[in-house]
Symmetry: C2
Subunit: 431 residues, 2 copies
Amino acid sequence: MKELYEPVRGFRDYVPPESEVISWICSVFREVAESFGYREIKTPIVESFRLFAMKSGEEIRESMYVFKDKGGREVALRPELTPSVVRVYLRELRAWPKPVRLFYIGDVFRYDEPQLGRYRGFTQAGVEILGADDLNYDVELIEILEEFYDRIALKERIYKVNNVAIFRDLAIRSNLDESSVERLLHLLDKGLFNEAAELFEARGAVRGARIVREVARYRGANDVQPLVSILESEGVYSDFRMHIDSIVKYIDFAKSIGARVILDPAFARGIAYYTGIIFEVAAPPLSISIAGGGRYDNLTAVYGGEELPSTGFAVGVERTMLALSSQGQGPSLPRRRRVLLLLLVKDPPVFAEISSIARDIRRKGVVVQIEMLSAAHRLGRWLEYASKEGFNYAVIVGKRELERRVVLVRDMERWEQHEVSIDRLAEFLVG
Amino acid sequence: MKELYEPVRGFRDYVPPESEVISWICSVFREVAESFGYREIKTPIVESFRLFAMKSGEEIRESMYVFKDKGGREVALRPELTPSVVRVYLRELRAWPKPVRLFYIGDVFRYDEPQLGRYRGFTQAGVEILGADDLNYDVELIEILEEFYDRIALKERIYKVNNVAIFRDLAIRSNLDESSVERLLHLLDKGLFNEAAELFEARGAVRGARIVREVARYRGANDVQPLVSILESEGVYSDFRMHIDSIVKYIDFAKSIGARVILDPAFARGIAYYTGIIFEVAAPPLSISIAGGGRYDNLTAVYGGEELPSTGFAVGVERTMLALSSQGQGPSLPRRRRVLLLLLVKDPPVFAEISSIARDIRRKGVVVQIEMLSAAHRLGRWLEYASKEGFNYAVIVGKRELERRVVLVRDMERWEQHEVSIDRLAEFLVG
């Protein structure tokens, strides 16, 4: 029977305090996104497989939960939310004034090999800007993340950035077709630069191959100059100048608001729909990225809608929690005052009066846990419980005291006991 | 391509304001549960099929999403969370002092025929008390719900209650086996009283059959007397007296805190693990129940653990939203002040200063949406946008004004314009 207690391989249970940290991170994210003018949307976890397959190709099938529902529909557990957000935009939100700023918080699923910080089900919190026709919207994403990380007090966060338009353009100018472009981005993401260069060579694009091999040498360079030199020496700098100017400008803006940004000319992301500025967030010493995003200017058109320049990102919520603890940062969860109310009188009118007082106290933000005791001899056990569990006060409501309209309040920290009038109890505990 | 925009049959997208109402209901639920001393847990959406099949029998398979994952495991999308909570308790929380009070908020899935308020994916918010060895814990559930409904301002809520132990005991005394007991509860839940009586007749238990047929006549009676009379006339009242006393006492307590409780002696719930007090919440004029729960004293033992009396409930979040609107009650979502900040200067240092002011304003709870305008001639369009979208203020940051360290603030309600010093902007907008 024991194996029944385990979650399915690749999944995790979260109990307090971790479960509470996850909820707290989500609620901070919601507050921040709302404060920037974003509106929340909720889309189903179960989506048509085709929605994801269209732009991501066969490869994503490998790591997707795909099955047929009882009606024979080929459905998937969503591996991310961007395609769903675009779908809902096309279906319901086209009339909204642009840009449309949306955010979401939801579960996603990927059938990957489980390892540190990588589970088969996890929570993503993200934003999308549809109709983001300017670089400043990409900068806004960094602003949102900076505010989010400030509020959860994640000290170290580094943005690795690049402009994937450079690789895309290089591929198109070398006559690679769209599926080869997607393959190229996938290979670059995996750091397989040789294989990436061979894609060009296979089409006789020796210059493209040379550029890729050169760029690979400047992985993580944090400098645009080597890239400029490579393109100049190949005599194609002017073709790419616009893309380079835009990443430089983007970095200037991001740095102006204090973000630590590192340009990596060899950086790409595996998701096929990115077309421009992309980024990932690292939180050392954690070795995995905790957020990522980028610009996708063609996705609405891929789904048959109008072209709509867009940009967005997603935060891995559980990984963000991992980052906090790896930086030795206890999350600053709001600590509430806690009262254990021990009721020795089992009588509906008394219960009603005490319940009503408890309600007033709870509404002031204090936790009130009520235990109705069958026998006074169990009182000792419960006071011990109050002490062990970190309650601030134990309140004992006894029959004799109640006749005098008083209760006993034990201050668990100072180990003092007070007789408090029942009419002043709420005031005493909240004050 | 159009059909690609639709969610999968049986599922729904939620856009503002509905998506925001759902989140708000969840956050109120979380606050209330925490204020009663409950701790949150998070369990995976994908669980082993066996976890649900063990206690619920073959029938639930019909309405469950079941499939094999890539590792050949027979998994299910959870149709509810109670079995998962019990699983986590048995695995990780056995050492916690009893009672263990837990709550959850999560997605569940049922392959039912879609209809009003019934989708194939929806959100449940619920609590479980493990080690709930007294009736007062059942009463606490009603208290929590009452506080929750008060806070979301759902005016009409009616608790239909019964003690399913009466039917269980009747079945056992009539020599029905456990699978017949489960069948019985299912039939009663569907109102198929004749078929339920026939289950007894098939085992020659004519008295049991008579009692079931009699009870059926008092559906929704809101009176314990008919049931007492039936049992007395059959000469078995003393066998059931304990169960009847407990439902009467439960109702007394629930009424003492102001809950509208209706006893329905013919009421049962389809879930097989209930053993005692059960309830469902109706919110007229909505015809479907919006919450339900009950006592399950054997589930830990079914899963191979110690016996642990337990009780809990789950709220249907989307149905609760439906109930609010069916009662003509607009949810009282917190309304925030909103500022549209129009930046006419595209220059990193200016952007940095404005961003920092915006951050201070946001931290005071005001929404600040920034638009960086490429051209001043688009200003008119944006002011129109601010007006249409209900912003309270539009702030125009222009080059010439900035040289004098001022910005223009337009009050969108009074249609007034002020020149405000940049150093006093936050104060002006928050104040």
